[in-house]
């Protein structure tokens, strides 16, 4: 398993996933079915998470093929630029879906602003992801390259796409900007551990006098911290893509983040949270909830540990 394999394995999910999610979301607006709406939100969140490793494995895939005959680095750069635009729309769509799912769990009716925002961002993501997929396909498949590329809609999209080299330079040209991003990355870490970590500990049985539902009210701050860290993390990756790509600690960290996020999704959607939501002071949570909470806690701390080992493990994956 190497980066090209991983990239090919993952890279259809953001394209097809956003189409499926947007289709479900549109359906729910027409037929007004809550289950369909929830399904679409879960699809958006899953795809927004999967888009992260898809994005990251692209650099390693590029390095493997860039010297091959018939491969144009210009086409790869165009694909990378398209991805660097699409990923932000994807992540915003995922974040909006988290907000909608949270409101739904609190039995708050969907906010009109949120519904409208999901509609706009998911449809834009469908377009941008399709463009990313198409430019990616053209790297290998000369049969799908065509003169259409020069038509107005394509030119308009290309206008908004960053140049990967310029984006990278922008991130690292000023060391204070880099320091600021890393600082924000630590603030996000604190918010995550202070809220989601504390909730996990309560479920495990620490400090039982605090009711679970009360503590759960702080979790949106932890999710905000996660959002801060996805943003600053992606920007840092864009700043030093080859550095991170050849780092085992970084690859494992991304895997641990996806697993930790999955543990959280399972906690809220499997009914484990519902089982212990009503537990007041002094009440013990059921075993299933404890298992998930324990897994989540171990994974978040693994993320911190692996993040710290990125620097010493640089070049631990052969170039």
């Amino acid at each position: 398993m190497d980066f090209p394999h991983l990239h090919l394995l993952l890279n259809h999910s953001p394209i097809i996933g956003t189409m499926v999610g947007a289709g479900l979301f549109l359906t729910s607006l027409v037929v007004r079915t809550e289950d369909v709406r929830l399904s679409s939100l879960i699809v958006f969140i899953a795809v927004a998470l999967l888009a992260i490793p898809t994005f990251i494995t692209g650099v390693g895939a590029q390095e493997k093929i860039v010297a091959d005959p018939g491969i144009s680095n210009d086409l790869i750069q165009r694909h990378e630029g398209a991805a660097e635009l699409a990923i932000w729309f994807m992540e915003v769509t995922g974040a909006l879906a988290v907000v909608a799912l949270w409101q739904c769990a609190r039995r708050v009716p969907p906010a009109p602003w949120n519904t409208l925002a999901i509609l706009v961002f998911s449809l834009l993501t469908v377009v941008l992801m399709a463009r990313t997929g198409n430019t990616g396909g053209e790297i290998r498949h000369s049969e799908i390259r065509s003169a259409e590329e020069n038509t107005a809609p394509y030119a308009a999209l290309a206008y908004f796409e960053p140049s990967p080299a310029k984006f990278t330079r922008l991130m690292i040209v000023n060391k204070w900007w880099w320091a600021f991003m890393m600082d924000m990355h630590f603030f996000g870490l604190v918010l995550l551990i202070g809220t989601i970590g504390m909730l996990n500990l309560r479920v495990l049985g620490f400090a039982k006098q605090v009711p679970i539902a009360a503590l759960n009210k702080l979790v949106p701050w932890g999710l905000a911290g996660f959002g801060m860290n996805v943003t600053t993390g992606l920007l840092a990756f864009i700043g030093m893509p080859t550095f991170y790509t050849h780092d085992l600690a970084f690859v494992l960290k991304i895997a641990a983040i996806l697993l930790a996020a999955a543990a959280m999704v399972v906690f809220y959607l499997s009914g484990a949270f519902r089982d212990c939501e009503a537990l007041g002071a002094g009440k013990d949570a059921p075993l299933r909830a404890k298992l998930i909470a324990g897994t989540s806690l171990v994974l978040w701390f693994a993320v911190i540990v692996l993040g710290r080992y990125i620097q010493p493990l640089q070049d631990s994956i052969a170039r």
């Binding site: 630590f186 604190v190 605090v210």
Partner: protein, 201 residues
């Protein structure tokens, strides 16, 4: 500015050299990992208390949070007195948040020890950097502020409204100070003049 010679002597000691150069899994980066975990344990629960004091999640009962503070003073300058006051005071009921509070204390202790090790690995780097002194000062103020939260909010018998009224400003300061500690800590990597004695960063 001349760098004091003792920093060079310190750097040449076996332990300092080992910390810097060891390939062991328990070398420099392991200690950095431990320091970061300690950070999460200290500042994480602190942030949760501050958010609660600022009026978020009003369902979380305030009094149990008091126990997050008690053991914290083990690492403070009044460690000995506080050990007596707290560690072996059976008339204080041990409230359920004790375990969380233990975590916070553990975090501070971890960071005091791992912090000393990190400085021992690169003493010239730390002591020639004004940002290092800023960080220590901010830690001092942050702990002092936490003590004020404990004394003025949690120690007095008073209703929740009074607790919140007194706690709000202190919570803001707490967030600002701990954010300052983290920021100053992060900036250590970008503001140093010397990596080791005589070697510029």
């Amino acid at each position: 500015m001349a760098v004091p010679l003792f920093l060079n002597a310190l750097e040449q000691t076996g332990f300092s050299t080992w910390l810097r150069e060891s390939e062991s899994v328990f070398g420099f980066y392991f200690i950095l990992v431990v320091h970061t975990i300690g950070l999460a344990l200290v500042v994480g629960p602190n942030a949760a208390i501050d958010l609660r004091l600022l009026g978020l999640a009003p369902e979380i009962p305030l009094p149990p949070l008091k126990n997050w503070f008690n053991l914290m003073w083990l690492v403070g300058p009044n460690a000995a007195i506080d050990l007596r006051l707290l560690g072996l005071a059976p008339d204080i009921p041990l409230p359920p948040l004790k375990n969380w509070f233990n975590l916070m204390w553990l975090g501070l202790a971890i960071n005091a020890v791992s912090g000393v090790f990190l400085v021992l690995a690169y003493p010239s780097k730390a002591f020639t950097n004004p940002d290092f002194y800023l960080k220590l000062t901010l830690i001092g103020f942050a702990i002092w502020n936490l003590q004020r939260i404990k004394r003025q909010v949690f120690d007095l018998t008073q209703g929740e409204d009074a607790m919140l009224a007194k706690g709000r400003m202190l919570a803001v300061w707490s967030l600002l100070l701990w954010a300052g500690v983290i920021t100053a800590g992060r900036l250590l990597a970008y503001t140093c003049s010397y990596l080791v004695y005589g070697v510029p960063c």
